[in-house]
Chain length 254, copies 4
Amino acid sequence: MRTEVRELKRVRLRKPVLIEGLPGLALVGRLAVGYLVETLGAEKFAELYSPHFPYYVIVDERGRIRLPKGEFYYWRSPDRGPDLMFLIGDSQAQTNRGQYEVASCVLDFARRHGVRTIVTVGGYRTERGGSRVVCASTDEELLRRALEVGAVKSPPGSPIVGIAGLLLGLTAMTDMRAICLLGETRGHLPDPRAAKNVLEVLTGFLGIEVDLSGLEKSIAEARRMEEALVGISMEEIAKRHRRPREEPGRDYIY
Amino acid sequence: MRTEVRELKRVRLRKPVLIEGLPGLALVGRLAVGYLVETLGAEKFAELYSPHFPYYVIVDERGRIRLPKGEFYYWRSPDRGPDLMFLIGDSQAQTNRGQYEVASCVLDFARRHGVRTIVTVGGYRTERGGSRVVCASTDEELLRRALEVGAVKSPPGSPIVGIAGLLLGLTAMTDMRAICLLGETRGHLPDPRAAKNVLEVLTGFLGIEVDLSGLEKSIAEARRMEEALVGISMEEIAKRHRRPREEPGRDYIY
Amino acid sequence: MRTEVRELKRVRLRKPVLIEGLPGLALVGRLAVGYLVETLGAEKFAELYSPHFPYYVIVDERGRIRLPKGEFYYWRSPDRGPDLMFLIGDSQAQTNRGQYEVASCVLDFARRHGVRTIVTVGGYRTERGGSRVVCASTDEELLRRALEVGAVKSPPGSPIVGIAGLLLGLTAMTDMRAICLLGETRGHLPDPRAAKNVLEVLTGFLGIEVDLSGLEKSIAEARRMEEALVGISMEEIAKRHRRPREEPGRDYIY
Amino acid sequence: MRTEVRELKRVRLRKPVLIEGLPGLALVGRLAVGYLVETLGAEKFAELYSPHFPYYVIVDERGRIRLPKGEFYYWRSPDRGPDLMFLIGDSQAQTNRGQYEVASCVLDFARRHGVRTIVTVGGYRTERGGSRVVCASTDEELLRRALEVGAVKSPPGSPIVGIAGLLLGLTAMTDMRAICLLGETRGHLPDPRAAKNVLEVLTGFLGIEVDLSGLEKSIAEARRMEEALVGISMEEIAKRHRRPREEPGRDYIY
């Protein structure tokens, strides 16, 4: 098995923008982009598989199983704006080399569909949380536009780890351009509030209108969970929410 | 050396079902499928080698050594039922990528022998043990049949780690179908009781009759061992039963 | 993506000497060679990318991002001495195999530009610091020349880890020759004094004159920082200055 | 760079037996085979390099450096016995896959030189040391011969880790045959006594006479060192004698 995209459906898109939200810090990207996919009614048209994803499978509600994967969705702009392509999924690659391989594969696929602009979405860890949306880009114009709609510039020197960063780095070597929008978060728990903060910037950036009130329920739940956890150490909390990771020989469910 | 299957003997099988039981959690799969192989008198016809298996060799009773490997056995149904193919062995692959590689290799080999249905067998960790057999599948019909003979559906979201899961995930991308049967176990020690629980479901699932009383001796031994260990922490016990694992530079016996 | 050098500009050099200073122990090599590049006004002409570099990107002062990379600079000798080629950058490769791959790539590139002599620069850890410059080489003559300008011979047996060592090891298998110059350092903090010590030897070795007074400010700052840290354990200090490293699944900023 | 053997000299050997002694547990193999090479005056004729060896280089007494490598020596039997080929060196491969790759490379090289029999030499860890020599083999006859000259059979089940084991496992898949001779050792320190014990068996096995008294000095030194260390925990001792290992990002000497 190689890292590869399997197209489920032939789709031709108009000036598509790719928006990436694979699971990462506090699931900010996954929550934000997953919400867009659902609310806009975007349609799945391709899946990405890789031997660098974790070596487990996931069980759904009906007892059906599937490999970890990335999923590409598309949404056609109703008003001559750019069409949107979304990438969400179960996991990032598990090794250094795998991260480069998956990001390259995503980029190749995007280019084949005429993508010129990529937005990656994720979390930005700060000690005390915060509600800002931090951005960095390969491109002055994208950066300026993000600042106009409320993002703040990432401080210099800070590394952006994982696919949200790598996609930008690899894009910089092509004729495409990319920007990341990172919602501030303490990062211990899934953080739907940070996801909402990013979406406010992202929808402004894309010039689309999306009702974000659907996130309020998740935000309330997350707040209740956090309150229930007062007094429990952050490390313990992080541990409870950690996903199983590749550890050779580690028994989980075989 | 590549990951590859070496056939020891040319065999043509009738509608074979592959049953996988490589060592995993509490050795449930290994114990269950190994018992079937022995009791049915299945015959070995192929071996699987891989540079992703651990870098040690194993000494047998006569001082002979061999590489870690997977072993394929076959058994011809006496009554026009499907023939059975078994996969047991010494180890699973040691890395993320190796797991994908070995599972793909198994699948290719199975397909070449006309396998359409795969059953993977393993353990399912629960805090307090339990005696249920949990199942998940790529296929509605297999799932229904397993539920009919006493299995329960896996809760959604839980990952199934290792080859027992990956084989299902990769099968889902082919025209074959697969199901896993996982015996509940606390997972600290080899658990022949969980193996027997799975076998009760598995034999019903396959429509074969196998005398399972031969497992009682192992079950009694395991119970004695567990009683002897009361008061010793579970972590300590797990440590004592852990197999040597790949650790570059780790001195074992050179 | 493969490990590769991308040339930004066609350059023909005269008997070039390659001087490597990727980040390593106490950043001695990076500080020393970076200072040379800046002070001599060397010009960048190529970049090295690798999937073995860490899977994050770096944000600059303007919010622009880039992949970790190596950078090649050149400087033309004004007086018929050898031209100089410099290699600095963000990181070394993250795995054993990646280290060999990147070092081989550097060597191939150097050879294509007519390099016959390579100098690698780094730190040499000692308990109490020290101000000597330790050298080892693939070549008697280079060694003798380094000793003449103030270096001391490396004690036998001590390993030289990372690209500063590997470049020498791989060079020994070619018709090129190489020497390393390693500044003694305690190694906990970036050490501009060790960098200066190496530069004193290196400029003598190369027969060039460079004003090193520009390093005094960094040295004073480093001394103040060290004084401020008296009483804090060295391990703690090292931890604070450690760069983010590849850890699969580790959340940083996604 | 690939894993490969570089021949320094064309040599044709008569029925050569390969004797492997790369560094492993307590350096038993390295000490034993190194002693044979030296005492018999064997001549080097080939070197093995691999990107799976550690990413450092080694400095010799003259300040010259070299990559970690394996070295092949040969010795011509003066009396129509089999010629001997020796493999010693600096390190074993650092990863699971690397171990398989290096062992396969050694085997290919041995076969090309007409080797039919391989002896691997190493240590066998026991709590209280002991002076026996444990053996295991791919071949009944080799095993019997080793038992005749004083070796004891390895207990079943125990894994033999690293190249001393893998060479046997891979040999079992060819028309060659192999045996390992493992000297009992507590394994914390280099153990020249265990090396001597193995050599007594090995020389009997090969039917050659070698004066082993040259090892007495090392044995006396090791005993003194061990006495000096009484009261220091074994873990501490092991730590002090551990060789630097690949750890991405670990600063040693750059």
